[in-house]
Subunit: 422 residues, 2 copies
């Protein structure tokens, strides 16, 4: 890995694939056909794009039972434990509706209401991750969402991956549909005979899925379009180079455009990590991907001081931040921008990907400056409550009317003054 | 107003202006020039579009002092009272960072961090509302945002409206810039010599502002693109027709595309409201706008039962909902989708626009199904905290490695296993 001194402002931003005009047109056509023809269009597109003619879109109880034959019993137990950890963490985020009452009779408040229905997209092929099922489904369930519909493109055998089915079933997902791509997004946004429409769609996908999500936004809500994964490790001279190298490589194996960065005031550590990365890389099954990611988007920045290193982290605003210093808790208050913060040498990033409880759907590409991990708030609405008594309106009505007139809105003023008439 | 029986599914959705290709190209050019030339571009565009050659973009203390000469002292007091009400309401929304600790040393949590900097756009001309200044600025301040930069296009006299300046000053806004349009959005997103960049931009604007916000989204966060205003009144036979008519008209005067709807099981009330609307409309200064809005987007729906009326409200998912029944609190639990809910006959909607405390920036165009009023959460990030002890990783590391291998991510498994050595 390159070792550099920080000389100018840092950024993890990469241009995201925004698709070609041809891809956009293809997506618009698919969405229009799904809106018009419903299930018929879904089945036709599945035959065309996934190479399989399905009799039914909905996954049957038999298919779920068959998935359990494939997945090791111990793994099912680990999935359950991960599920419980994720559930317990997100449960802490739940907010209650609240009101304030005043002696003049005024009541103000916020009514928290879960979304009616949410759609979760799970990509196909090697990116069909059981962990993504848990991370997208559980916050919605904890929020109290009434209906969760999962969609995923079937393989040529007409099946979904066993791990995905087991994870969905362990969460209690009742609606699982074998449909992917832009057509699945159309089904979730507009509804078909088999798949009722939802209010929000979450989950990652390829460029067609991303373009379709952008198009249906407004009809339904969507989550953020994610960029490649990132990790920044902030370490002092005491940190373990083998741990750091292993964690950098765990990001690098995701994607050739993933970004793995070490920031440290210790040149000695920097050099030892660089050696460890080469050593560990050599035996990785996905070493081509990881090596290219490290070469193109990896970096080791050496700073003069720890404060400079912390400033560099805030400039990078990473998706994942590991703090490997002797007292990581003493630094956390200085971290302004990071999706997930891992403290101490034992808190390896994959612990958060799979098991600890916090969400692994995190802001990428510098958006940690203003965005949060997927959370329970993403699946509720907060409606305002306003109740004014006669007494309150008599005391304040003339003020409100005056403010309305300042803005030239006479009907607003009169609406309030109507209440002031005996 | 038309009185109709509800026969099919209802919607307040209108096609929003998404701009022409020509407008989009103009916006892209403006943004590129602002990025390249900074203040110079801002001053040139202000001369071109606003017809005024400015010496300085920043509003001076003298300009603010002059604004107080224009605004009635009593009005300033009302603005202060509104500000305090808004502040007190939003203060209730503030969340604390939290952690959980376990006996094995595991610490999980959520770190709440305010955004570094926020930009507030205030439209020019007759839409320069002091109330919008309060509603956009205060939630950001309550969240703890460090820097708030307000932008608004100057008039031909090179000034901003006095009411806007007074409202901003009463909130303690220190940075106010005389620049509007796409160029103002570019300045906030990329920064110029005078205007440092921000992390999020809120506030309404014309089509150029809306297109510019869409373009810079990703570099910065933006709020929702708002549609025309809407009110739905849910009333029983006991409700006061003059109150309802006045409130319907207060929405209708906003915009020819605003939507004012009454839903009631009482045909008698429906007929009396229709008469009242005509009567009150006749003397309104903005009667042309209100009349066209009522004609094109107004409706009175008469249902068989109150339950049907409530179902209609949920289908409409209005921005503003007034419940004018004898016991409105008994109905609130059945309301699933509404931006702001006004309870009882005294709670006229303009009370919420100006004074009560809850935000008047609300989800429109059916998005109340999945969106919330502007609130403190919109100005913070919630970073995850994960700290695993040696004990915790020894107990759970093999499970995490197994889950990683199920997904084919060997480097993830090895990163955790590195901690299990010796």
């Amino acid at each position: 890995m390159k070792i550099e001194r920080v000389t100018e402002s840092l950024s993890l931003k990469r241009d995201l694939d925004s698709g070609t005009e041809q891809q956009r047109q293809a997506v618009l056509e698919i969405l229009a056909n799904v809106k018009k023809q419903g299930d018929e269009a879904l089945l036709a597109y599945t035959e065309k794009f996934d190479g399989v003619k399905l009799a039914s879109l909905k996954v049957s109880p038999e298919e779920i039972a068959a998935a359990y034959e494939v997945i090791d019993e111990e793994l099912v137990c680990y999935i359950r434990e991960a599920r419980d950890n994720i559930y317990n963490y997100h449960r802490r985020q739940v907010r209650q509706s609240w009101i304030t009452t005043e002696t003049d009779g005024t009541i103000l408040g916020q009514k928290i209401t879960p979304l009616d229905a949410v759609g979760v997209y799970v990509p196909g092929g090697t990116a069909a991750y059981p962990s993504s099922v848990l991370m997208n489904v559980i916050p919605a369930q904890v929020a109290g969402v009434g209906r969760i519909a999962m969609v995923s493109p079937p393989g040529k055998d007409g099946k979904l991956p066993a791990g995905v089915l087991v994870a969905a079933n362990e969460c209690g997902v009742k609606e699982i549909y074998k449909v992917g791509g832009a057509q699945a997004i159309g089904a979730l946004a507009y509804g078909t005979e088999t798949i009722p429409r939802v209010d929000k769609i979450t989950g990652p996908g390829n460029i067609y899925v991303a373009l379709a999500k952008r198009e249906v936004f407004g009809d339904v809500d969507i989550d953020m379009i994610a960029g490649p994964s990132e990790i920044v490790v902030l370490a002092d001279g005491e940190a373990n180079p083998a741990y750091i190298a292993a964690d950098l490589l765990s990001q690098a194996e995701h994607d050739m455009r993933a970004s793995s960065v070490l920031v440290t005031p210790s040149l000695e550590l920097a050099e030892r990590v660089a050696v460890e990365v080469e050593k560990q890389l050599a035996t990785l099954p996905r070493k081509e991907i990881a090596a290219q990611s490290i070469r193109d988007y990896g970096a080791i920045y050496v700073t003069e001081t720890m404060d400079q290193a912390i400033a560099a982290v805030n400039e990078l605003a990473p998706e994942h931040l590991e703090i490997m210093t002797t007292d990581p808790m003493s630094i956390i208050g200085q971290i302004r921008h990071a999706g997930a913060i891992f403290l101490g040498e034992n808190s390896s990033e994959p612990i958060g990907d799979y098991f600890a409880g916090p969400n692994h759907v995190l802001p990428t590409n510098g958006t940690a400056r203003f965005s949060s991990p997927l959370n329970v708030d993403d699946f509720v609405k907060k409606s305002s409550i306003i109740s004014y008594s006669k007494k309150a309106v008599l005391a304040n009505g003339h003020k409100i009317a005056a403010l309305a007139r300042l803005e030239g809105l006479e009907a607003h003023a009169r609406a309030v003054e109507e209440r002031l008439k005996s």
